[in-house]
């Protein structure tokens, strides 16, 4: 059994099989798992906002989808993953509250997912699976050995994508 490495909010970590990476209680934030299936090197980012260019104070790299994904790619390749073989799985981006659904704040989960997909497409990293949106929190654990992205939610059976 490997070690389970914890990723906080606005944080990212790299790991090598048999270790795994996890982030607890994802709400409107998005968890992005990357993996090189050959070297079994992977990583997980927990981003909070879609776009660093929209914010003046943007030095916190893992806080944003655009800069966070770039940095995660940089760190997994530095660890020995092949840039060309990288594949992704994503989860989170829930809408935790429903009021005034026109409000930008409430829709931030959806915008985080859109920005994540856009950035991954731009970097030509295919998304193999996703479990995004809806209205519930998710704990995720990513295993670079198998590529399994295990998801736990309150009142639901654990499942994987």
């Amino acid at each position: 059994m490997g070690v389970e490495i914890k990723v906080g909010m606005a944080d990212l970590k790299v790991c090598v099989s048999p270790d795994s990476v996890t982030t607890l209680g994802l709400g409107s934030c998005v968890g992005i798992a990357l993996r090189d299936p050959i070297t079994k090197i992977g990583g997980l980012a927990h981003i909070m906002l879609p776009d660093s260019t929209m914010i003046r104070n943007n030095s916190n790299i893992p806080k944003f989808a655009d800069t966070g994904i770039e940095e995660l790619v940089r760190q997994v390749t530095l660890k020995g993953a092949s840039r060309a073989r990288l594949v992704a799985k994503i989860a989170g981006g829930a809408q935790m509250f429903g009021f005034g659904s026109a409000s930008e704040t409430v829709r931030v989960g959806e915008r985080n997912v859109e920005a994540t997909k856009k950035k991954l497409a731009q970097m030509k990293i295919p998304i193999l699976a996703e479990d995004t949106g809806k209205n519930f929190g998710r704990t995720v654990i990513f295993y670079p050995e198998t590529g399994d992205f295990v998801i736990r939610a309150v009142g639901k059976q654990e499942y994987k994508i």
Binding site: L24, G25, G27, S28, L49, K63, M96, F99, N135, T139
Partner: protein
């Protein structure tokens, strides 16, 4: 307006926000006691400015199931307010309020709407004190309630703070009746409203 940055907040601002939090939580406790028609005591609130990765732990763990009540506020102060309570404590509270406690872990529809009302009264009392101290108009929206993992609920205000800086201001208050109820208030004024609030108290930015 204003270059107010929570990351570089001076002690003076912090003390003022802390004091606003204290008074607000005190008012909320009084309202809670009236509602329950019992004596409710309150600990001195703990005001913390936390980094995002510290939030989960500060609340007792990201996966702890909590009830979160969230309201938008409008008027002179714009933004939102959230009140969080551990699920067990929430169940105890509504049980006392409606006189019966349902079996099992989940909330019945009636308990759910009672809990919404409790949240409404608690946050309302908090906002009232804020309004009367600052003399600013604060208009709350209809509350929205969710029961889920602490981390997932807290992500909503955290994201709002994330647009301003790298920390979040959180006020933790313990209420006691027969049991300890750990409550968390998070006031999320937008950037302009911070300036207005502090300005109303005679502190210039």
């Amino acid at each position: 307006m204003s270059g107010l940055n929570l990351d570089e907040m001076s002690n003076e601002y912090f003390d003022v926000l802390k004091e606003l939090g204290n008074i607000g939580a005190g008012n909320a406790t009084t309202a809670l006691a009236q509602l329950m028609q019992t004596k409710v005591d309150m600990s001195v609130p703990r005001v913390q400015l936390l980094e995002f990765k510290e939030l989960g732990e500060a609340m007792g763990g990201e996966e702890l199931v909590m009830a979160g009540i969230y309201l938008a506020i409008e008027g002179d102060i714009n933004g939102s307010i959230m009140f969080l309570l551990e699920k067990k404590a929430a169940k105890h509270l509504v049980g006392k309020l409606i006189g019966t406690t349902s079996e099992g872990d989940d909330f019945t529809e009636m308990e759910f709407s009672a809990l919404k009302e409790v949240g409404n009264i608690i946050t309302g009392a908090y906002l009232n004190s804020l309004s009367s101290i600052t003399n600013l108009v604060v208009q709350p929206s209809v509350p929205d309630l969710t029961v889920d993992m602490a981390g997932a609920i807290i992500s909503v205000p955290a994201i709002e703070f994330a647009a301003l800086g790298d920390r979040m201001l959180m006020i933790q208050t313990q209420f006691f009746d027969e049991m300890v109820l750990d409550g968390f208030f998070i006031l999320i004024p937008d950037l302009d409203s911070y300036g207005k609030m502090l300005g109303a108290l005679g502190i210039s930015l």
